[in-house]
Amino acid sequence: MSDIPLSGQTEAEHLRTLRKKARRRAVLAHRGLIFGLTVVLLVAFVAVFAPLLAPYDPFAQNLSLRLAPPFWHDTASPEHLLGTDQLGRDYLSRLIYGARISMGIGFGAILISGLIGCTLGLLAGYFGGKVDAVISTIITVRLSMPIILIALAVVAVAGASLKIVIAVIGLLLWDQFAVVTRTATLQVRSLEYIRSAQAIGCSLSHILIREILPNIRAPVIVVATVELAHAILLEAALSFLGLGVQAPLPSWGLMLSEAKTFMFFSPWIITLPGVCLFILTLAINLLGDGLRDVTARGK
């Protein structure tokens, strides 16, 4: 019955393929994104397959070969590529296992905080009014408390274990998720497709999960990367202060802390774990920036 043949389709399809191509090009041309993605995947791979990749048992001490320097030194021990620590443990193996701790704690923590933050943000943004007032106050309270101090205090009270550290970091880092989800939901809420869904008679859960969530995923993913880096640094800081992961587990932060007494004579012993931490967080941040650039471009 339509009297209007819509012949412009070739144009829309043409644009669609052009945009897709452009986006692929943008992703590939984004050096930060590619670097970040590669490093994060690599570290994840190392973390998963640590037992297969590590040349030595990371806990095995060899007191006769303490503080052996890495390969670029003249006095390097040929068996230990990156030398040994103050107890003669193979440094490369400990660094490989350290990736496990960092990635495990990082991902575990942002899973918890993402769940808390997104739920609060969605509810606050969608309902507004009193719900928003209450949730916004909770967010303000959380922002007002010094993270490291609270984390340390809780760990001091509850005892330091891997699970506790994950839980504490997860329960503290949800604020940015909540803030960003709330803002994004507020923007989407007033759009007419949400009103259409309401007028169709869709249930609340359908509206929140199917209509809103998929359309705010881009900013949430970007926050997730920022918070992943944040969680990894926070774990390192807690362990560095002696109230995070406990010895003899090889956390990079703990390794730094244990090594700092020896840094005057063996500077590489603080350089190596620090470089690992730096490169991993750098990669995660670059990945997040890259995702932000690429998704913003699509709009």
């Binding site: 412009g8 144009e11 043409h14 052009l18 452009a22």
Partner: protein
């Protein structure tokens, strides 16, 4: 002498999907005391053409023209500082969105007087007198007190009036209005149109009025350029273009507007089938050929000629006769 004369203006925008050819060779000429309407649907390049004339294009844009003269002086190689001295002084521009077009953190006085003192110098009192005079002239009651208000304290209609006053602070020779009434209520729109027409008369300015609304054109335009896909497809006096439209696109547009006294049960609106062609390909042929009811075989092989009739009435089409009456044209 022609106030503003632009020949073969082209504007390209660099985008992810390639080079978007927004304006593809447009000629514009405005006389003092005359209103030229650029009319066309969204995306036809009318706003880009106007921004190019003032050097206000976004950084992603590049432009070229064979000629661009203000009062006989070429602006083709003018630097930013020359253009900046012209803008707001000899040529002013008013935009569509009154709600966001004023700086929220400065008072009306700061913004009006700033423009005056930038171009005309003078002391605070002079600038203030001029601002009050103009605010009253554009129909703002209580102008003295309004001076110290911030934009968010005014309604949309009032803000548009403030913007008009701001554009007139230095008595420009040419004013460019980019859809100045589109965001306003219909009753306010009529008031603003009358105001702009009166001011043009009073100050002897030339005016370029950009709009998508043929009804508005019929009320305020002296000369009309109908734009489609980055080109002027028909040009002529208001009476010629609206009364004896020659280009199939103009005719289609005019047929698609609901007219007073007509109900949908009695007659259907005319429509233009299809959609606008790609903006990404250089195409010297007629941009309208894919949607045209009167297309000829030649349309697919040769660029359309400019068919001219009496009194500057012309259309870019193979299959048309310009039939306007010479007596009607200015």
């Amino acid at each position: 002498m022609t106030l503003l004369s632009v020949k073969n203006l082209r504007v390209n925008l660099r985008t992810d999907a390639g080079r978007l050819r927004a304006v593809r060779g447009v000629d514009i000429s405005v006389e003092r005391g005359q209103t030229l309407c650029l009319v066309g649907e969204s995306g036809c390049g009318k706003s880009m053409a106007a921004l190019a004339m003032l050097g206000l294009l976004p950084p992603s844009a590049e432009w070229s023209a064979d000629e661009m003269k203000l009062d006989g002086v070429s602006l083709l190689n003018a630097g930013q500082s020359t253009l900046s001295n012209i803008r707001g002084n000899r040529v002013s521009m008013i935009f569509q969105e009154p709600m966001t077009a004023l700086n929220p953190t400065f008072t009306i006085r700061d913004q009006l007087c700033g423009v005056y003192r930038r171009h005309k110098g003078g002391n605070r009192a002079q600038a203030r007198e001029r601002a009050i005079y103009l605010l009253e002239r554009v129909g703002i009651s209580n102008a003295r007190n309004r001076l110290d208000q911030y934009p968010h304290e005014l309604s949309g209609g009032l803000r548009q009036r403030v913007l008009i006053a701001m554009a007139l602070m230095c008595e420009p020779e040419l004013i460019i209005c980019d859809e100045p009434t589109t965001a306003l209520d219909v009753t306010t729109q009529a008031q603003i149109l009358v105001l702009l027409a009166e001011l043009r008369e009073e100050l002897g300015m030339g005016m370029i009025f950009i709009t998508h609304d043929l009804g508005v054109v019929s009320r305020i335009g002296d000369h009309i350029n109908v734009m489609y896909a980055g080109r002027v497809v028909e040009s002529g006096t208001r009476d010629a273009v609206l009364g004896c439209a020659s280009h199939p696109y103009t005719q289609g547009l005019l047929r698609s507007v609901p007219r007073p006294g007509v109900n949908g049960l009695q007659s259907r609106l005319g429509t233009i089938p299809g959609t606008v062609p790609s903006f990404y390909q250089a195409d010297p042929l007629c941009p309208f050929r894919g949607r045209c009811e009167r297309k000829l075989p030649i349309c697919a092989s040769q660029a359309p000629p400019v068919r001219s009739g009496a009194g500057h009435h012309s259309a870019l089409c193979h299959n048309t006769e310009i039939s306007s009456i010479a007596g009607n044209s200015a």
